[in-house]
């Protein structure tokens, strides 16, 4: 069964450093998402991406964040200058249609630890 994959599974970085989290969505999906989950808390929407552009972003997704689909398979989240409060699990998700009507499939996540 097709699945969303994410790399790395765990990333440790120093405050102020740039990190890139990578995702490979399910191949025939058209909508891509990033979510964040701070330990023990709820899942928070960051951004949705469709047709090579951002369709929605939350207040969390400020100028320090960016997303890119550099080729036909990868979908990346970049954090330019990490802060301690960026420590969280980051989930990528993809779907065939928009959230209004379609299921999102989540990847296993990348645990980001900012020291």
């Amino acid at each position: 069964e097709p699945e969303v994959t994410q790399t790395p599974s765990h990333q440790v970085t120093q405050m102020g450093q740039e990190v890139i989290l990578r995702c490979v969505p399910i191949s025939n999906h058209l909508y891509f998402y990033w979510y964040r989950q701070i330990l023990g808390q709820k899942v928070e929407f960051l951004v949705s991406f469709y047709n090579n552009e951002i369709s929605e972003k939350s207040e969390i997704f400020d100028d320090q964040f960016s997303v890119e689909r550099p080729d036909g398979s990868n979908f990346t989240l970049k954090i330019r200058s990490t802060k301690l409060e960026d420590s969280a699990m980051y989930f990528c998700a993809s779907s065939t249609g928009s959230v209004h009507t379609d299921t999102q499939y989540f990847g296993p996540g990348t645990r980001l630890t900012v020291l």
Binding site: K42, V43, F45, S48, S55, E56, S58, F91, V99, Q104
Partner: protein, 111 residues
């Protein structure tokens, strides 16, 4: 604004039933339900759309009251594997492509 889930936590014995509720202050287009086990990704359970359409696992039962902007997830004859945190996610009528999750309901099923 995020949906509100209740209860925050529930403990069951195997075979018992539970209901998890999700309510929103906004008119909703759809409600999604996910289950997350510790250290894992959320797993899709069901999506309920206004107008009555539902998509999801056969063994999962849920309802969506469009007038009250409320959804309920029904877990019957619970099994140990049902343990985890259940999240509802909502999509308001006038919203873009964005799913907002509630705070979650922790379910523990004991033998």
């Amino acid at each position: 604004q995020q949906p509100v889930q209740s209860p925050q936590a529930v403990i069951l014995r195997e075979g018992e039933d539970a209901v998890i509720n999700c309510s929103s202050s906004k008119a909703l287009y759809s409600v999604h339900w996910y289950r997350q086990k510790h250290g894992e990704a959320p797993v899709f359970l069901m999506i309920l759309l206004k107008g009555g359409e539902q998509k999801g696992h056969e063994k999962i039962s849920a309802s969506f009251n469009e007038k009250k902007q409320q959804s309920s997830l029904y877990l019957t004859a619970s099994q140990l594997s049902y343990s985890g945190t259940y999240f509802c996610g909502t999509v308001p009528n006038n919203a873009g492509n964005m799913l907002t999750f509630g705070g979650g309901t922790r379910l523990m099923v004991k033998p």
